[in-house]
Structures are given as structure tokens and as C-alpha cells.
Symmetry: C2
Subunit: 631 residues, 2 copies
């Protein structure tokens, strides 16, 4: 089969559920985020725009004003905003937004050194420190985010200025690490996947070569960071240079078996590995990706598609260590898992990759943002306990209420760009086939000529209808959770050839294709190897994981017990914009009030209500639980 790629940014105009989310990001998140960049948002100052202004002054030999402020990776906030803005412009033209973006791009260009170097931290603070601290310095990380923005802005608007800044920057990096053979590789992988995007947008072979270089050299000298640390006399936050497992540098990537270390770094790295493996037909690399995929999805992933279970280093833990109440499960890590899944799909269109991509999106990624787009979670536990969550030393990271914005603002813009580029994950193509990986209402127009409209209330309804505008071969994903998925063409049931979870159909202009997924509520059970989940069950419906919140259940949810045989009906929950909830018979255990008692708790029948996990914590502060003890 020919290699399949993500659809173009401009290839999907969203409607329905995704359309609404994109409107929220366009109307609320992107403008707010811009105000943050300019220190106009009334939040803690970010100084992002000022940093670029001061860097430009430094390059011109002028006084750098109030200098640099913020994290060492502060520049990436501008890049992430530009990337989200680019996707937004691709989806819906907006003159004012485009002007703001063009202005910011001009400012960024003015902060680029003659040799192509660009990073305000080093340009403003200390140019001598450039490239001396790859472990913590984030220069390659910031370059990577700029490259993603440059590629996206060029695709969306056809404007080359940022793309050219990025190409010049890539050339500078290439000179240093490939041509001059300087040792080292990024402490926070990101530039590798970004170089692949820059390569595709520009056709510049050196981008591909540079991405491959960083993948190839990583971990070959597992002591690189230790040596680097010994050479330099400064540190950003004193990262441990000897923890190769944490920074994915303990062995060459092609030998890796387990997903380890900082979860975002890990999946960003694996994304680039899978992308390169596909681009170059590198079987060894593809096999390593397969093993890492299995490590994550068979042993180290929450049912919500969340990864990186421990707060200690925002990292993967050991196999089956998946605590609900102390979960880290960072929003950005789930986004990174979507990236990885999307590249795995390109390597091999198999529904298990799309299933996980969807699981991560509809649960952990969307959980990262409130329904009004104004507050955000970094951390996505599967249980929130009033009096313990956010308070106890082991639960301090699990705040029960979404804060407005963070100093380290990685998750909010990451959610924004993911929602705005949803089409790239939902639809793929190769020369002769359109791939419908995710169900997403709206219009799709692919480069291979196939185009169609999709109508659906998914994920709240099971029916997905496609009106074919320009026909051809279309592969529809059949998710593993749908026990039967009748497909009809023009009202007539058909039986389609299904390969690796994709139903392949030849359709003609004007055809109406309808899929009826099995979205009946179902219970999920965890492996006995996850001790924290033994004897428990979790309620799902289609791609959605449900949770029980105190606010819908008379305050308490920890005394609820569920039978797998209970009948579940659809209902509404107060204050959730009409998002469907589920209602069922359950039991409550009433104890005698003592900490420990010989009295078997009495069981009382009750009605329990569950809401989709992604809309948790949108009302008052309340208890929340995903996995309930089973009766």
C-alpha cells in the first residue's frame, strides 16, 4: 500500500462537536493567549513579546531594556500561538488575526541573528552560553516549535517569512551538528518532529537529514549529557545529567523497548522516529516504534489515554503503575501520544493506533480545557478527593479546580493547536485512498481529489453519514469498541472488506455512506496486574470514558458501587451545556462512621449519574471518580 499522510491543514472545515470546539479556541483561547504574550491578560506577566523585542535590540547593539524574563523556553509560547493562529486562519480567514500574526513574525525575524541563531534567552542574557547546555537549554526545543509554526503558517497562508526564518535557523543547526560534527542532541526532543514538518513544507532535504541525524546520534554515547555537564559551569535547574532513562539517552533509539522518562519528551521523540521510519523505510526504527507503542498502550497508559503516571519528573513509571488519584497524566503528554499515534497510522493504517489517538483526544486532551475555554488542567487524575486532592503531599499536583493560566504555559496552547488542527488527525490520504481515522463532522477535500461532507453528532451519537462529493476509495476506521458497525451505501446495507480495522469502500460522486457504530454504554475492566484497579469497573460509551462527580450524586461518589448488569439510560446533567449524561441503578455503602469497623456496611439502592470525563470539574469543586468498585 502507498504511504499515507495527514490531510492538509486546509483540507478539513469542521462542523458539529469539533466545529464548536474550534470556534471556542478561535473566539476565546487564541485571543486570550495573544494577550498573555503581550502581558495584557491580567495574568502573571509572560514577557514573551518583550523578550523578542529586547533580543532584537541586543542584536542591534542597543540597550536590552528590561532584559529577558521567564522560563528558558519562553519563546516557544509565541511559536505555539502562531501555530494555532495558522490553523485557525486555514479553517477560517480572519484579517485582524492575520495582521497580528504577521506583526509577530516580523518581530521574531528581527530577533534572528545573522548566523541564523534565534533564541531570546541567550541573545538577551548571555550569548556565550549558546549551545553549551543541550540538556536543559531548550534551544532546539524552541527552534522546533518555531519550525512547526513556520510550516503551518506557510501551509495556511502561503506566506514564507516565518518559513524562511526557520530554514535559516535549521541551516545554522545543520552547520553546527552535521557539517561541523559537533556532539550532542536535544534534552527535550521536539526539533526532530518539527524538522520533518519543515522538510515537507519546504522540500529542503537538509531538514530531513538533520532530523535523521538527531535520531541516529541519540543515546549512542549515553554519557553525552554527563560530559556536557562537566564542561559547562552553569545550569538552568540542576537537571541530573546521569539519568539517561529520564532523558531517553541511555541507549540508541533503535534498541529501546520501554517508554521511559519525561512523558512529553518521550512521545515527541517517538513521533519523530515513526515519521522518519516511514519517510525512509527504516524497518529497524519502525520496529522500535512498535515496541514503544506496545510498552505505552499495553502497560503504561490510563483508560483515558493519559500517559506519564507519576508527578516525579512528569514521567512514565514502571509497568502497571497507574494510580487514579495521584496520576500525573499531563494534557501535553496525551497530545504527544496523539502525534505518535498519527505517525504510527501513517506507517500502517491499523485502527488500534486511531483508537488510542481518539481515546487520548476525547478524554485527556479535552479534559485539559474547561468548557468555556478559559481555564486549564495540566494534570488529569482519574479520581479527585475533596480534602486530599491538591492538598496532601502526594496529591498536591492534582488540583481539583482548573487554574486560569500557568507560568509554564505548555498545555493551554498545545490544546489550542491540537483542536485547531483536528482535521490532520481525523483524515489521511495517499494517492488513491482517503482515510477516515476519526469521525468528525464537516467538509473534507483531499489532495488526491476525493472530497466529501460528514454529518454526525458523534461522540454523542452513533450515526456517521458521509455525502460523497468526489468519489474514490475511502477507508473508514471501525473502532475496537464497536461490536457491530453496519455500513450502508445509499440506504442499502453493504459488507465492506475490512483490513486491520479499516473498512475499504469504493464510492462514487453523490453516494451517501452511513456507518452506525455501536455506542452502547459498556463497562471496562483493568488487568489484574494493575493492583489499584482490582475489583473495579469503568463506564465507557463509544470513545468516551465517564466519571462520577459528587455534584451529580448528592455529594459523595466514594460510597458508590456498581453492578456490571445495571441498566444504563441517557439523561442530562445540570450545567453542562446539554452534554448527555448517563444514569443507572447503583448501590451506596453506608458505614457506621468509624475509621475501621467490624460492621459490614449497609447497602442502599440509589441512582447514580455519570458524565463524560472530559467535562469533569466544570461546575463547583467536587469529588470525582472514574473507576468504581464492582458488586
Amino acid at each position: 500500500m502507498k504511504k499515507q499522510y495527514q490531510s492538509d491543514i486546509t483540507g478539513y472545515k469542521a462542523a458539529g462537536f469539533i466545529g464548536n470546539y474550534q470556534e471556542l479556541v478561535r473566539g476565546t483561547v487564541i485571543p486570550y493567549q495573544y494577550d498573555v504574550l503581550c502581558d495584557k491578560a491580567g495574568t502573571e506577566k509572560s514577557h514573551v513579546i518583550d523578550n523578542f523585542r529586547n533580543a532584537a535590540k541586543a542584536l542591534r547593539g542597543e540597550d536590552t531594556g528590561d532584559g529577558f524574563y521567564g522560563m528558558v523556553f519562553q519563546d516557544s509560547d509565541a511559536a505555539k500561538w502562531l501555530e494555532a493562529a495558522a490553523y485557525s486562519l486555514a479553517v477560517k480567514p480572519d484579517k485582524k488575526l492575520e495582521e497580528l500574526a504577521d506583526e509577530l513574525i516580523a518581530l521574531i525575524a528581527s530577533a534572528q541573528d545573522k548566523d541564523g541563531y534565534i533564541n531570546t534567552y541567550y541573545t538577551v542574557k548571555d550569548r556565550e552560553k549558546r549551545w553549551t547546555n543541550l540538556l536543559e537549554g531548550h534551544e532546539l526545543y524552541c527552534s522546533g516549535h518555531l519550525m512547526e509554526a513556520g510550516a503551518a503558517y506557510y501551509e495556511a497562508t502561503g506566506k514564507r517569512e516565518l518559513l524562511d526564518v526557520c530554514l535559516k535557523n535549521a541551516e545554522h543547526i545543520y552547520e553546527r551538528f552535521v557539517k561541523n560534527g559537533t556532539e550532542g542532541y536535544p534534552g527535550h526532543p521536539e526539533v526532530e518532529l518539527a524538522l520533518m514538518k519543515l522538510y515537507r513544507a519546504s522540500g529542503e532535504e537538509r531538514c530531513l537529514e538533520l532530523a535523521k541525524h538527531f535520531i541516529d546520534v541519540r543515546g549512542v554515547d549515553p554519557d553525552y549529557y554527563r560530559k556536557e555537564c562537566e564542561r559547562r559551569n552553569w545550569s538552568v535547574w540542576g537537571a541530573n545529567a546521569n539519568d539517561g532513562t529520564y532523558q531517553q539517552s541511555n541507549m540508541p533509539v533503535r534498541r529501546m523497548n520501554d517508554a521511559t522518562g519525561h512523558a512529553v519528551r518521550a512521545v515527541y521523540l517517538y513521533t519523530a522516529m515513526a515519521d522518519l521510519a516511514g519517510e525512509l523505510g527504516d524497518k529497524e526504527l519502525a520496529e522500535a516504534c512498535g515496541r514503544l507503542w506496545d510498552s505505552i498502550t499495553s502497560r503504561r497508559m490510563y483508560v483515558t489515554g493519559g500517559i506519564g503516571s507519576t508527578v516525579h519528573g512528569e514521567a512514565f513509571s514502571t509497568d502497571y503503575d497507574l494510580p487514579s488519584d495521584t496520576a500525573y497524566s499531563e494534557t501535553c503528554a496525551a497530545i504527544g501520544l496523539m502525534f505518535f499515534a498519527s505517525r504510527m497510522l501513517e506507517l500502517n493504517p491499523d485502527s488500534r493506533f486511531a483508537d488510542v489517538m481518539e481515546q487520548a483526544f476525547y478524554n485527556t486532551v479535552l479534559s485539559g480545557m474547561s468548557l468555556d475555554g478559559k481555564s486549564f488542567f495540566y494534570v488529569n487524575p482519574l479520581e479527585s478527593i475533596p480534602g486530599i486532592s491538591g492538598i496532601s503531599p502526594t496529591h498536591r499536583h492534582c488540583v481539583p479546580v482548573r487554574p486560569g493560566w500557568y507560568t509554564c504555559a505548555c498545555c493551554p496552547p498545545n490544546v489550542a493547536r491540537t483542536i485547531m488542527s483536528f482535521g490532520k488527525y481525523a483524515y489521511g490520504e495517499n494517492e488513491d485512498t482517503a482515510f477516515c481515522h476519526l469521525y468528525a463532522a464537516g467538509s473534507v477535500k483531499l489532495n488526491n481529489g476525493i472530497s466529501f461532507d460528514c454529518e454526525t453528532r458523534y461522540p454523542f451519537d452513533s450515526k456517521v453519514s458521509y455525502s460523497i462529493i468526489s468519489g474514490g476509495r475511502i477507508a473508514f476506521r471501525i473502532p475496537h469498541w464497536s461490536r457491530s458497525t453496519p455500513i450502508s451505501v445509499n440506504g442499502k446495507p453493504i459488507s465492506a472488506e475490512t483490513v486491520n480495522g479499516y473498512a475499504y469502500l469504493e464510492v462514487s460522486d453523490g453516494d451517501e455512506v452511513t456507518l452506525d457504530l455501536d455506542c452502547e454504554p459498556r463497562f471496562v475492566y483493568a488487568s489484574q496486574k494493575v493492583p489499584s484497579l482490582s475489583g473495579k469497573l469503568c463506564l465507557c460509551k463509544g470513545p468516551l470514558v465517564y466519571c462520577f462527580e459528587g455534584v451529580d450524586n448528592g455529594g459523595d461518589v466514594f460510597d458508590l458501587r456498581l453492578s456490571p448488569d445495571t441498566k444504563i439510560t441517557e439523561t442530562r446533567a445540570e450545567g453542562l451545556d446539554g452534554i448527555p449524561a448517563l444514569e443507572m441503578q447503583a448501590e451506596r455503602e453506608k458505614d457506621d462512621g468509624s475509621l475501621y469497623s467490624f460492621n459490614e456496611p449497609e447497602r442502599q439502592k440509589c441512582t447514580a449519574k455519570a458524565v463524560p470525563y472530559f467535562c469533569r470539574a466544570n461546575r463547583e469543586e467536587t469529588a470525582m471518580r472514574v473507576w468504581l468498585p464492582r458488586i
Copy 2:
């Protein structure tokens, strides 16, 4: 009722279960511990004896040889050994042991400064630093342990040398903090409870006054440690001087409501508070003790009597935060809870104090030492998960196998002294009554003239028989877990007046009193407010909590499910010196091997075996679980 006190050290000669444990400590632990002090044990060197030797040299103006080595509180290891040795001599004379102890005491005396100061860290390293760092410096802590040893050695042998060293040291501390009005109070409470012992052994009123002083001034200036920290220019390990909740200095002790901070420090402090409250008839202090007792036992204690649930600072967490698998539950903290319980009992002979004292002893304290007395646990989780416990970042402290000895060797000698002085916890007295708080085979001879022998296989058997040698009024504790406790005198059932869980009997010389406790195996349920235990049950029998180990259950215990209606029979477990185990019908859930599955796991009937928690981890490395999901 007249105030009740612990029995004298010499008042109880143990037999049976406790007798065997005392033999183990006498024969194995105390000699081994002495070798550690002298660096002869083949473990990491402790340098304890050498520190005293070098301190003596420093005082004589000689070269201090190889200087000081070890923790700032290294001296306390010598004191704890001496205290255990004293109890051992009280129980069974041993010339060689007494000689070693006398020698060590002479060495310690030679390391005391003319002004009464004694601490090798400061004497050897830097005398200028004396008393400048009460927060971390541990001078008062080490003095306290020496005072406990001094009082014990005097009681056991009648020899005054160490007692006089301690009194001179107490006088030095009194001068500084009371007479000269120097600000400050101990960062690690201990000296307060020790001063109370020294006061009782010596009759020296200033010891009582000094203990009261430290209790009275504590937290009155909650900023004391911050100011101290600002004044000094050195630190032991950079403790946070602003965390008053952690060091129990955020408010005057009489206002405290919640047990907070470092668990050992907390209960050592509460012990002294309760002791003082009784001694002085201080109602306000007694009420604070009552609130702190409730805070611990109704909201912050494991079913094993373990306290201090979080590894972060070895501390109390918030209410109901009692995770099984990441529990800290330090052995020393359970010992401290026994101290506190014992003083609460003296304030008010109520069986709920003795019940908790027993719960802590038979479960967490004994769990701290292997059955052969050669290896020790600091940390006592209620679940041990192969591949996660001891490995994952959140479970690193929960090592699954007892190490031989620790650099920070607090728990092993603490277990040793507690076992050797068991009689002080088991038996109490006032002028006209003998109190049997715990059931313990052996001979008892109290100061009030009452004496008796006790015969029992407790905790493995329910029958406890007392042969009265010299009669009077005896109060027998009736534990809350014993649903009915028939008492007979000379074979005839009697009905005794029972007040606050104590049955009061007038007995005559030659009487035979028999209690038949209800030690049937029973299930315990936790409050719904402990989310990690919802839907689970725990098997108990008398004072013993049971656990399920992989080694008795075909490897895995996390797939086991238990019905509260299952019939439980007594059996044996392999390799546990004949300690009775329990056997019952259970079910195993067999899953389909995937991390998450829609397939309800199949249930298979099986036989499950449980062993007392205290003898966990005495065989091969294995899975262990106390709380099992209920069916």
C-alpha cells in the same frame, strides 16, 4: 481514681510469645547492635563508640583522631542500645552485657564537658555551633535518648553513673533555657518525654520543670525557627524553618487539633504532653491530647496501627489519606504511638487506648523486624507489588525485602527497646489496682503488692489465665474486638463490673482467673471516607491483622476476591516457625490479558491463605496485600 503508672522495668518476667521475642532481642539484636556501635558488625561503619572516644579526646585537648562520623544524631544509637541493654538486664541478669554497658557508660561520661554538655558531633566538630540550630541540631534529642537510657539503667541495675551524667546534662539545659531564659525548643521532640522519666527515676523537680518549659514555650512564637535560621550561618540538611506544621511549632501545643508533620516527632511530643498533663493535672493539656488522639486514631491511622502515611517528610498527611501501597507507616512512629497510648492510659484507663497500643505493637512494630531478628523494615506498607514496590518513584521507599541495617539506624534499636520493656506497656498500677492492659504470659510483681502469673498462647489463642500469687484489685482490659469475653474465677463464670473497657475484679491469693477472648477471625471495613479502601475488606483475628502473600497463594494475590461470608479455618504456612495461618474459600478473577478489556473477568473458586501481617516478608520476595476487594 488514683493515677495509674506503668509497672517497673523489673516487674514483669516474660514468657510465651513476648518471652520468645525478648530472647531473640537478647540473643541476637542487642549483641549485633553492639557490634554496629563498635564497627565490628561488617555493616557500613557507625563510628558511634569512636565518636565518644574522640569527643573525650577533644575535651582533654588531645588530637581528635579520625574525628566525627555519621549523622548529627549518631550519639542516640549508643543511648538506645544502653536503654535496651538496661531492660534486658532487668529481665535477665547477664554479667558480660553489664560489663559492656558499664564500659560504654564510662566512655560516655568521659565525653561530657565540665558544664554538663554532652554531644560528640559538636564537641568533636565545632563547639561554636552548640545550641545554634535547635531545628536540625538534635542536641536535645540525643540528650533525651541518653536520659531514657540513664533512667532505665538506674532502674534496672541501681547504678547511678549514667543517671548522674544525665542529671548534670539536664542541669546544663535547665540553666540555658529556663534560668537564662534562652529562647527555643527542640526541633525533634524527645527530651520532654525523657525528662519525665528522668524526673521519676531521680526525683529531681527541675527535670519536671524543664519538660514543662519545653511544652509550654513550643509554638508560642511560631516564628522561632525562622529567626534561628536567620541568625545562624550553617545548616545540617537545609530543613525548612517556616514549616511550623511539620515541626509542630505553628501554635501553642494546648491549641492543637490535628496530628501533623513528622509522625515520630509528633507522637513523641504528644507522649510528653499526656505525661505532663497527668503529672500536673493540667486539664487543658489533657484535652489537647484527647483531640490529637482522636485526630490520629479516627482519621489518620492504618488498620495496622501504623501512622505517618506519607514518605514526604515521614509525616502525617491529611485526614483519610491512607494509601496501602505507598504507605510510609514508619516502625518508629508506631512505637511512638504506643508511648502516646500508654500515657493516655495513665491519664484515663480506657481500653480504646490499650486497643490501639496493642494494634500498633502486634502489627506495625513487630513487622519492623524479621522473625530471625536480623533484618528490619523502616516502612510498613499494606501492599507490596512486585515490579512496582521499591522501584517506581512513588514506591521507592516501600522496599519489598527487609534490609540488614540502616545508616540512619533509628528503627532497629527502637524495636529492641520496645520489646524488652513490653511489661511497662502491658501492666500498670496505682496504689490499689493492677492493670492488665495487654495479655502477656509471664510473672508480674507490682509495687502495690499485687502479683500473679499469666499463662497464654495469645495472640494465637484466646484463653488467658492468671494465677494470683498476691491478690487485690485487678483491672482486665476487654478489647473492643472481643464480642463476648467470659471471665471465670476458679472455674466459675462471674460477671465483673466493666468501666471504660476494663473489667474490675477483687481477687485473692491463689485464685485462678481466666478470660476467654473472642478471637474468631473477622473482617474489618474502612470508612467510605478512605477512597483507596472502598469496596475492600481486611481480615483480622484478635489483635492481629492478616495479609495475603504471593508465596502462600500461587504467586499472585491481586486477583483474589473475598466474600465476608467465607468460612475461615486455621492452618499452617510454610516456613514461618509454626505461626498459625488462616485459610478460606475465595475467588480469583482471570482477565483476558489486555490492559483494559470489555470482557468481564471470569471468576474461579480457589483457596486463599493469609498470615499475620507482622510476619510478612520473611520468606522469598513476594506480593503482599492486606485489603482485598470484596465480593
